[in-house]
């Protein structure tokens, strides 16, 4: 089981956009350069975040991305589901119904005990991710910052931030 590299990139981009002053926009190219990642791969994930209502896309040559809602309302779970899709990691194929001698159908009304246990674990995973917001992450980073992280962000915003009316 492996999450795509897009998850890390998407979370960093959303936290960066959450730190952007004055409702500013950042282009996919600027975000890709800052994080040293492939622009085309990143674009796919920014579009997924936009489709999930986490980012807003402003089109045009002066366009870019900004948060579609408050950083305190966006959880890590929202970002993971936007990038990876909402399907659970364990996808029961009901192989207990296979083979030359399957069970009577009455046994298949309830989910198999294996599926139920796997779903409970996935719920624990998702519940934990849901407790962490983008605002929390940025606050944690700010706590550890002796000024260098803020300066680096400011330089990036000065060079790259764009503005458009809501």
């Amino acid at each position: 089981m492996k999450l795509s590299d897009g998850i890390e990139q998407a979370i960093h981009c959303v936290t960066m956009l959450a730190a952007a002053p004055e409702d500013g926009l950042l282009s996919a190219a600027a975000l890709a350069e800052f994080h040293g990642v492939s622009p085309s791969y990143l674009l796919k994930h920014l579009q997924a975040l936009s489709g999930a209502g986490i980012l807003e896309t402003v089109s045009g040559p002066k366009g870019g991305y900004r948060l579609a809602k408050g950083a305190e309302t966006i959880s890590l779970l929202d970002i993971v589901l936007a990038v990876e899709g909402r399907e659970p990691a364990f996808r029961c194929k009901e192989i207990r119904q296979n083979g030359p001698n399957p069970l009577p159908r009455r046994y298949f009304k309830a989910p198999c005990q294996i599926n139920a246990a796997m779903i409970r674990a996935e719920r624990a995973y998702r519940d934990e991710l849901a407790t962490v917001t983008v605002a929390d992450l940025n606050a944690e980073v700010a706590e550890k910052d002796d000024g260098a992280i803020a300066r680096r962000g400011c330089m990036f915003f000065e060079e790259n931030l764009r503005h458009a009316r809501r």
Copy 2:
């Protein structure tokens, strides 16, 4: 994020072997036929379970697989890690160290807050899977059984069970 189909197959095979009487062996071919799955694909996962110390392999034409230890000591987590590997789903590439203007190295001694949050979620997932043993699963199935599941198992064992000394 998707777990391989091998997980479902591996869990069903281990629960089946846990129900086998008299320390009996089942061949990969019999297990594949019973579950209606590809023998070569299943074999890969049976070997992984054997490598992880969950199953014991007895080689030869009358060989097969049996549990290497008690069903009450094998958890769903053991099976998932045997099949999927032990690496976490989120594999931080430290992209915060990328780009034309990286932060000073002192910031990279501790894991990034994002990685820490993703690891907490994975721990919750694994902790939940660790609470469920193969013995628990078989007990739950037996509780719902009006006899048809046990009969189906018995027929399968009568036709396919092999024996070898420990």
